[in-house]
Amino acid sequence: MPPFVAQKDTETARSSASRDGLVSHAGGLTRRNLLRAGAAVAGVAALGPLAEAMGRLAGPAEAATWFSGTIADEGFQYRLTNFAQIKPQWRRQMVKYYSPEPPGTVVVDTKNHFLYWIWENNTALRYGVGVGKEGFQWFGHARIDRKALWPRWVPPPEMLKRKPDLPKLVKGGAPNNPLGPRALYLYRDGRDLGYRLHGTLEPWSIGSDASSGCIRMFPEDVVDLYQRCPIGTRVLVLEHLGASDDKS
């Protein structure tokens, strides 16, 4: 499948709106924050079902409260997330990170719904993610061998069987394309694993088990991660931090 890449030079005042949103909602060093960090350690998966239920309940009118305007990006546009609606733990943040994984690795903790981009000095940039409804079905090492701006979406055959009314292909940049503005494709030994890190049209689904097999992120975050991870970046998908990584 050739990459569906919209090569346009329509650079805009990219992400300043979303940046301000993130900055203004970044919490101070408070008791609440420390407790939140503790809660994150303890596992925040319990919040998932709630968020998912809210997503199901959200009709068109209510869904609007999860967004905060739109932003032009590479010839298309996406809806900005209203981060005031998002639980603090799902927002992008720099955290301490202790693991045997080397810097320059992406680690996905599917159970706790975090994606870590590991840096030097025991730190990592952490993003909230949504994962497959049945829990993620694949664990192990992979590599980002391909990245795409505004990827097209081809529903996998299993999904078409479950939902026959789905379109066979949704063009990149289309408002109903569930992948959003970017996708990073996971490969192993040169083979496309069929798993992607991508955006979402449903910000309420971040922090829950709601997609089918893929790792979804806020559109702002997948745009950010795309810039930070070069082709060749190593990825490790874990059931949870500390779990064995040799299941595949």
Binding site: S15, G104, L241
Partner: protein
């Protein structure tokens, strides 16, 4: 191992103390943060607009390059446009552009390539409107690898330029 256990214990005690309402400081950064995964990284518990942490978290310091190349691809240009916009918005910052290489060729070739990458980034930021007197460039060859191995998992991370914010300009500083 013992250290990790001890730091976890410290973290647990700290959290317990905070829950009991013993925290004397808030928002000042004076509390030692627990050394556990998911605790806020130093300086990142509260990120102010225009701070170095803001730049790191919301813009990103790294621009990547292809094997043997000092050319900017579309992704690199997008990163640098964001950096330029931020630097223009926050004129109190200078930036040292630190070029790195982990490419085919000998030490001299890697030194030259790393310097050329840093200079290319500097030229692009200037083209985007950042005053040249706020920037300077230096090459580090293979001296500061993110990770050392022959595979692309390592080399792709190492072929980069770091836009390192500084409060003053000092081209003679050792690093």
């Amino acid at each position: 191992m013992a250290d990790r256990t001890a730091s976890r214990l410290t973290a647990a005690l700290l959290l317990a103390a905070l829950a009991a309402g013993c925290a004397g400081q808030t928002g000042s950064g004076l509390i030692d943060l627990p050394d556990t995964t998911n605790a806020p990284a130093e300086g990142f518990a509260s990120v102010k607009n225009g701070s170095e942490q803001d730049f790191i978290l919301h813009v990103g310091r790294r621009t990547y390059f292809d094997r043997g190349s000092a050319e900017l691809d579309d992704t690199a240009k997008r990163t640098l446009k964001s950096q330029a916009a931020w630097l223009k918005q926050h004129p109190g910052w200078y930036a040292k552009l630190q070029g790195h290489a982990d490419d085919p060729g000998n030490a001299a070739a890697n030194q030259a390539l790393s310097a050329k990458r840093a200079e290319t980034v500097m030229a692009y930021l200037v083209q985007e409107g950042v005053p040249a007197d706020r920037l300077w460039a230096k090459g580090y060859a293979r001296k500061r690898l993110v990770r050392d191995c022959k595979q692309v998992e390592c080399t792709a991370q190492n072929r980069r330029v770091i836009t390192n914010l500084r409060r003053e300009k000092d081209e003679s500083a050792p690093d």
